[in-house]
């Protein structure tokens, strides 16, 4: 496989005082360009830490992340992050939140008018053009996350990182946003790495699902190929055999072989 994003023998441990706690051990993963990969696991298994390592927001104890042949050392707009709690700046309007990213990334490459158009284009892509002059405090949680996605896409990242992007949303809003993400992925062909704890979400969106074992010293337990044709339609999948068996495989991994620590104890 042609690895666009490569996680090479990642170890991560935290030192606090005299004690060292090992979070991740020997994580290896290769992702091709345009692939949509989900990481799923029980809470505390280090999946968000793994995403932060790829983002450059956390460093590895051992091992290297390669993106497009270059080692990742610090955060950067080529690995834009959609944060779980949207992380919009509350004092800026929706437009300005996206524009800040656009100005920073394309300040030299694009003219002012081009940056303006690009910002509006991103907002239209997530259907938020109508709210461009609102502040984050004035829009709903789902809309905030749409803007968060627009901000990340506006950076034209090599890989889009999503950290439980819909975890804080209600089920209906979540479904809407999942559809939007699928639509955007189909149009732009981004490489996406998403952390989630929602089995249906993982199966619906992903080309591959990476299942993590429980911590401490968590690692990749199994990788599942989701062989469903795109575009995928939520309703069509309800009784789809491939969908159901993929879903069953993930559930079996999470609840039979790798129960949450509290359940296992």
């Amino acid at each position: 496989m042609n690895a666009y994003l490569k996680l090479d023998r990642i170890d991560k441990s935290f030192k606090r005082g005299g004690t060292t706690s090992e979070v991740l051990r020997d994580v290896n993963l290769e992702i091709a360009q345009g692939e949509f990969v989900s990481i799923i696991g029980h809470s505390g298994c280090g999946k968000s830490t793994l995403l932060n390592i790829v983002a450059g927001l956390a460093d590895t104890t051992k091992g290297v992340v390669f993106l497009d042949g270059t080692a990742v050392e610090e955060p950067g707009p080529d690995r834009a992050v959609v944060f779980q709690n949207h992380s919009l700046l509350p004092w800026l309007t929706v437009y300005d939140n996206v524009r800040l990213a656009v100005d920073k990334v394309f300040g030299r490459a694009k003219s002012k008018a081009e940056r303006h158009d690009w910002t509006l284009q991103q907002l239209e892509l997530v259907h938020m053009g109508h709210a461009k002059d609102k502040r984050p405090g004035e829009i709903s949680g789902g809309m905030k996350q749409r803007v968060g996605i627009a901000r990340a896409l506006a950076m034209q990242p090599k890989v889009l990182l999503m950290d439980e992007p819909f975890g804080a949303l209600d089920a209906l809003t979540r479904a809407h946003l999942q559809d939007s993400v699928m639509e955007i992925h189909a149009r732009l062909g981004n490489t996406v790495l998403m952390v989630t704890h929602d089995v249906d979400e993982a199966v619906l969106l992903s080309d591959r699902i990476v299942m993590m074992t429980n911590g401490p010293a968590a690692t990749i337990g199994e990788v599942l190929d989701v062989q469903l044709a795109r575009p995928r339609k939520r309703l069509d999948l309800v009784n789809n055999q491939t969908y159901l068996s993929a879903r069953a495989a993930v559930l079996e991994f999470l609840y039979a072989r790798h129960k949450a620590p509290s359940i296992a104890a």
Partner: protein, 297 residues
Amino acid sequence: MGMPARKLEPVPAAKAAGAAVVELKRATPGFADRVKPVLTALWTNLLPPAVTIAILLGIWQIAFDRPGATLPAPTVVWSQAFDLIAEPFYVAGSQDMGLGWRVLTSLQRVAVGFGFAAIVGVLVGAIVGQSVWAMRGLDPVFQILRTVPPLAWLPISLAAFRDANPSAIFVIFITAIWPILINTAVGIRNIPQDYRNVAQVLRLNHLEFFVKIMLPAAAPYIFTGLRIGIGLAWLAIVAAEMLTGGVGIGFFIWDAWNSSRIPDIVVALVYIGLVGFALDRMVAFVATRVTRGTAAN
């Protein structure tokens, strides 16, 4: 049960009653209707303080309206210091001018001292809030220095500047800077990690981070500091001017005391109170305008 479900279907109300939509005449608000809320607002906001002031003045009048009283009663103040009350902006000589001019002179000193305090306080506060080592090194020093009373700085600043005016300004500066600095530092320390992550992903440089993230995120804290600072500055200027002399509301009080013009002092106190109140409200007003939307959600 046995009842068929169809019977529960509601009959369209309008058809059943044969009702027509009657257009009600829309009431156009008359003059009285428009004035009424304004009057109500005035009534509820101005009446209670007016009553309080009237009662206080009454007690004061009763207490001091007798021969041999040590302090003047309100009526005496009104008659003896009427020129000061009626004409804030007259000039009749280098030490004989309206209280308006004196207050403006004092305000000028406060503006310079407080301006410097705001700039230095926010910058140093940002460094202290951002860097653990700067905080460890500087915080104990600040905690000690901030307890030094404003006037205790005056002799040492007179010795350093050898001039009354810059010394008074320095006293304002050193009085106002601590709350600004300490509040800014706390505000910067409380910036959510989320915003820092965003800045890192966008690769904002130090200046961009300061202007685009730090200042707006810490603005509510900074303005709390500024508001406390301006209050302290106004407290300090009166005391400092009493000692340094020259034109200014503080020296006016000291001068009036030396020439036994007690009614003048009473008028000056009212001026000081009103100006201090106005300053506080001004900073609060700017704060609400600037920090609109900064509250995290």
